[in-house]
């Protein structure tokens, strides 16, 4: 289980900026907060340790009584987004309920992170877009067979189509992580994270940014 420190945020969009040496860096802007710790999961009580993070204010008309009471018990207002972040017990002990997470305390500039988002749904998609198939030739007598995937198996042996054959179907709207993205800039006052490269998901969608799980180790002599 990934228990690296991290934060939730909203993807605002992409932009580019000039670094000090004059090069252009392309980044995704993530508004990570203000994120408040609104509760904890503990090993003794829940069997695992996690921080419960809340972000944004929930309007009263959208809040039910259970949510209001749950927020009152920890002296908080109901939050629009509530997510659990699995962390180690030692890390969870550093935070108190009601504390606002600071972006610059969790991340440093230049650090590698993983970003997780939910990709934009594309609906029912053909094999050319979904699996990058080449399609068929458009001449030599072809008709009604331009964007098809071709054969899906053999005849008598095994006499059936094997599982996991790439076919047309629903594409997108799935959780995707991008690994080893670099943090380009941090603005802790505005709770902004500028992360190099793209992050899955539409603008305004929820993303989860955590410390990278797979640090790329460069072999010596290369």
């Amino acid at each position: 289980m990934n228990s690296n420190p991290g934060i939730i945020g909203i993807k605002l969009g992409n932009m580019q900026f000039f670094t000090d040496d004059g090069n252009v860096t392309r980044v995704t802007v993530v508004e990570a907060g203000p994120v408040t710790v609104i509760g904890k999961r503990t090993k003794e009580k829940d069997g695992y340790s996690a921080l419960i993070l809340g972000m944004g204010e929930r309007k009263e008309k959208h809040t039910n009584k259970a949510q209001i009471v749950a927020a009152q018990m920890v002296n908080q207002t109901p939050k629009r987004i509530v997510k659990e972040l699995r962390v180690t017990e030692e890390y969870a002990a550093k935070f108190e309920v009601g504390q606002v997470l600071k972006v610059d305390e969790i991340f440093t500039v230049g650090q590698k992170v993983d970003a997780q988002g939910r990709t934009r749904g594309r609906g029912f998609t053909g094999v050319m877009r979904r699996w990058s198939f080449a399609g068929g030739v458009s001449s030599h007598g072809t008709h009604e067979y331009f964007r098809h995937g071709g054969s899906i198996g053999t005849n008598m042996t095994p006499g059936r189509t094997l599982p996991n054959i790439k076919m047309a179907g629903h594409y997108g709207d799935e959780t995707v992580s991008m690994q080893n993205l670099k943090i380009a800039r941090i603005d802790s006052e505005k709770h902004l994270l500028l992360i190099e490269g793209g992050i899955p998901g539409a603008k305004g969608s929820l993303v989860l940014v955590r410390h990278a799980v797979k640090q790329r180790v460069r072999k010596a002599g290369r």
Binding site: G13, M15, F17, V29, L192
Partner: protein, 118 residues
């Protein structure tokens, strides 16, 4: 789609207002910083502005010159810190926003009429 106000604020912080007002068809001298190792020097690129791409912090302009009978085009980022300065050598009279037709012309035909002569 509209840009998020937070991103718009971050982008507008990068704009620089030191560039002179030049238009498509003008001849400009672009003083561009080139980094060689740990030293940098300034190289001048003079030519006709073919195109201005106005897109906030991502704005660019394209300059074309003829160098040893070979047409050379360079795209500069308007707000790049590597642009030291831009001088306007002459103002041109053109009827188009994009002067790509100059690529197909050579010699005397590839000139842009100067505003002074007009």
């Amino acid at each position: 789609m509209n840009t998020h106000p937070t991103i718009a604020a971050l982008e507008s912080a990068q704009l620089k207002s030191t560039l002179p007002d030049f238009r498509v068809g003008d001849t400009v001298r672009v003083h561009y910083k080139i980094v060689e190792g740990d030293k940098d020097r300034i190289q001048v690129f003079q030519g006709v502005v073919l195109k201005r791409h106005r897109a906030g912090a991502r704005s660019t302009f394209t300059v074309r010159k003829i160098s040893f009978n070979i047409g050379v085009e360079r795209v500069f980022l308007n707000h790049s810190p590597r642009i030291d300065k831009v001088e306007v050598v002459s103002r041109g009279v053109v009827r188009r926003a994009r002067l790509f037709y100059l690529r197909n012309l050579a010699g005397k035909a590839a000139r842009v009429r100067d505003q002074k002569d007009a």
